[in-house]
Amino acid sequence: MATANAKKKSSIFFDLKVMGPILALVVLVIVGAALNGNFLSAGNISNVLSRSAFIGIIAVGMTFVITAGGLDLSVGSMAAFIAGLMILVMNGLLPSMGPGWPLVMVGMLTAIVAGTTAGFINGFLITNMRIEAFIVTLGTMGIYRSLVTWLADGGTLSLDFGMRSVIRPIYFDGILGISWPIIVFAIVAITGELVMRRAAFGRHVAAVGSNDQVARYSSVNVNRVRMMTYVFLGILVGIATIMYVPRLGSASSSTGVLWELEAIAAVIIGGTMLKGGFGRVWGTVIGVLILSLIGNILNLTDGVSPYLNGAVQGVIIILAVILQRDKKAEG
């Protein structure tokens, strides 16, 4: 009896599905600290977190989309397109409004409206037109990427120099030494976790992803739930772009390349099921941190070339899925 109890206890504490991502993160932090003294400095931590914020904010939205059984490949291109649009609008209104916060507000509003619209278009095509999410977002991914290249005429869209100094604080300042991107990321993540675990919407998202027929027969408006996940993701891409534009003050065809894959990878590392039905936002946050820590550690150490970043990330993603898969059924 005692052994049975002990077994049960240990299975809760060492459940790899729950603890795996946290364990991996702890190992990475220990490795990082051992390899380089600067790793745990406030400067480096703040740098890593700020840089993860873009992908992180998007990945929280992606968690909902994937949990509902969907997918969005267009977020990277969408971010680039929104960044380009935001810069064009601000540059265009600069002569009439002058550099200052009202213009920044207009820029932000542009990003949010553009993100909402883009999410709505994806959602509309997927739910109302009944086209596979993979196909729809593969299409819009190409469209947005091409549009931003066209807007920039193959080069780079640069924000007016005067505006850059106005907008800079959004990325580089903060409260109590914590930068804005980190604060926004934290707010988005906490809200997302709460919605996923405790709100009716989160429950509906998991139900739709688990079996949309059951959801439909249970009076859940399946199309609306699906649509909302894409719209929320679009809004979050808009917010991420608002954080991103002040950092470089420019957008080009190479902005946001592969963000969609990093966001999806973070979601999967965090334990959300790719086929839908179960998602956890805190896992996604850990997934984002794992991915950016790998890059950071490779940059800080001499042993391994930073060019191998992608390879190490790839190995981690595959390992994460192997550790989290269900035991094969008998027979």
Partner: protein, 502 residues
């Protein structure tokens, strides 16, 4: 004559962890005999069949084939020796053709390529042997359930099955389809195949079984030649108590006010111009063959399919375009397909119970405490037996899943509830409980529509029955007129009118 095989289980025990589910089971399947294995859900029928066919190995005891002990490493090993299990849920690839399914994993080749001609010919021969008219190149998704069952059997025969084990072969078949199946079973029997099947339909068991083994809680409680049993004795042995009064006696009286009035309801492709009235506190039965549009009509009524027609609830006209609107009007539909439309099998009981009326438990955030309270109440009210509160619903037995599904729909507190196949694939003890729930609901003044393929069920439960045929209401029977004969005549379009006027 090909060689025959006798399969014997001797003193078989099987445990899952600390739980022993089979105790000293002895069964012998003799060539040319049909053996029925009956018992309530969870009595150990599936485990027994899985041990016979190599899906599970026994913890103790031996399996012998023609007297020689065998131990199948897996189901493929059992199939190679001629022992084949046909699952209750069809194990067919929907998108592939009949022929492709039959030879799946055993394709015939000529050189590098598939030998289509031979496979086509063999498929045709196999189907002919089963007297089944289905086209070998038809896609499985397009053929009827009965034909799918035949394809499963043809597949088993193509693997040269000498021992055929069938898990509830008639659960998804109409009575006529089951009839065709029984003819084929007789034919196989004559060819010397040893057959074991399970069923909850005791009249069937009585009809086609030569031997009967009855399990209760993993013990063999009775076995012997089928001629020694009548249906009541079988039921009693299964349940361990008297179940001769399966259907409760009507307690309350039926109201005279109309709760639901449907006029000219049409669901394109399934139902045309259906009109009926349901009174307060009434139990209305809907009968008809599978495919007569019963389910689709009701799905149209509650907004799960597009439909036209007028609906009045308590005298007031309502527009229902979605299940949500139906629910708001006090009308709920309980699906016949609990596994793929009723419950989220990988979620817990709490999430499933409250899914339909989550807004009632939500005030910004979902109130998990009141959800837990609702679950406690549902477990009590509907006698749901689960190993723990957190078990994934897919691991509950069919009967408990059905009880949970009823609890889930009743949580929305509908005044009118449409229950589609309330007891499909459920043992007799749980059936009796569900019938009592239905009567209790009607006694509370709720109006209930029961759709069922089991005629006895409709007759036993309903105050009045509508019979559907090809999308239309073929007639209505009530009181002493509610007999199987009358219903069958209406359902099949025989001269029912003449009967009624007599």
């Amino acid at each position: 004559m090909t060689e025959t095989l006798a399969l014997t289980l001797t003193k078989i025990c099987r445990s899952f962890g600390p739980v022993q589910v089979l105790h000293d089971v002895d069964i012998t399947l003799i060539p040319g005999e049909v053996h029925a294995l009956i018992g309530e859900n969870g009595a150990g029928k599936s485990t027994t069949m899985k041990i016979m066919s190599g899906y599970l190995s026994p913890t103790e005891g031996t399996v012998t084939l023609n007297g020689a002990p065998v131990s199948f490493a897996n189901s493929q090993a059992a199939e190679a020796q001629g022992v084949v299990l046909i699952h209750q849920e069809f194990n067919l690839a929907d998108q592939l053709s009949v022929e492709q399914n039959i030879f799946l994993g055993h394709e015939k080749r000529r050189g590098l390529f598939l030998d289509k001609t031979t496979m086509q010919a063999e498929t045709r021969a196999l189907l002919q042997r089963l007297n089944c008219q289905v086209d070998p190149s038809a896609r499985v998704r397009d053929i009827a359930n009965a034909d799918k069952q035949m394809v499963e059997i043809a597949k088993a025969l193509s693997r040269n099955a000498k021992v055929l084990i069938m898990d509830e072969p008639t659960a998804v078949l109409t009575e006529r389809e089951a009839e065709v199946l029984f003819e084929q079973v007789e034919r196989l029997k004559a060819e010397g195949v040893a057959i074991l099947f399970t069923s909850h339909k005791l009249d069937e068991v009585k009809r086609i079984a030569d031997q009967i083994t009855i399990l209760r809680d993993g013990h063999m409680v009775s076995h012997g030649p089928a001629s020694n049993y009548d249906e009541d004795q079988m039921a009693e042995a299964m349940v361990g108590r008297d179940v001769s009064s399966l259907y409760p006696v009507r307690a309350g009286s039926v109201g005279t006010e109309a709760a639901l009035e449907v006029t000219g309801l049409s669901v394109p492709g399934f139902a045309q111009d259906v009109s009926f009235t349901l009174n307060k506190g009434e139990i209305l039965g809907i009968s008809g063959l599978i495919g007569s549009g019963r389910t689709e009509m009701m799905e149209g009524l509650v907004g799960l399919r597009s439909a036209t027609g007028k609906v009045r609830i308590n005298g007031a006209p309502v527009t229902i375009k979605s299940p949500r609107q139906a629910q708001a009007a006090g009308l709920c539909y309980l699906t016949e397909d609990r596994k793929s439309r009723g419950l989220l099998l990988n979620k817990g009981m709490r999430e499933n119970l409250t899914l339909q009326c989550l807004p009632d438990f939500t005030n910004w955030l979902v109130d998990q405490k009141s959800e837990e309270k609702a679950l406690t109440k549902a477990i009590e009210d509907f006698d749901i037996r689960a190993p723990t509160r957190h078990v994934a619903v897919g691991n509950l037995s069919g009967g408990n899943q059905q009880k949970l599904l009823i609890a889930k729909v009743m949580l929305a507190d509908p005044n009118i509830v449409i229950i589609d196949e309330p007891t499909r694939g459920i043992d007799i003890g749980t059936k009796q409980q569900i019938y009592e729930f239905i009567h209790a609901l009607s006694a509370q003044g709720k109006s209930i529509i029961v759709i069922s393929s089991e005629m006895q069920e409709v007759i036993g439960l309903a105050d009045r029955t509508l019979v559907m045929r090809t999308g239309r209401i073929a007639g209505e029977v009530s009181g002493a007129d509610m007999t199987e004969d009358k219903i069958v005549r209406l359902a099949m379009g025989l001269d029912a009118q003449k009967e009624e006027t007599v």
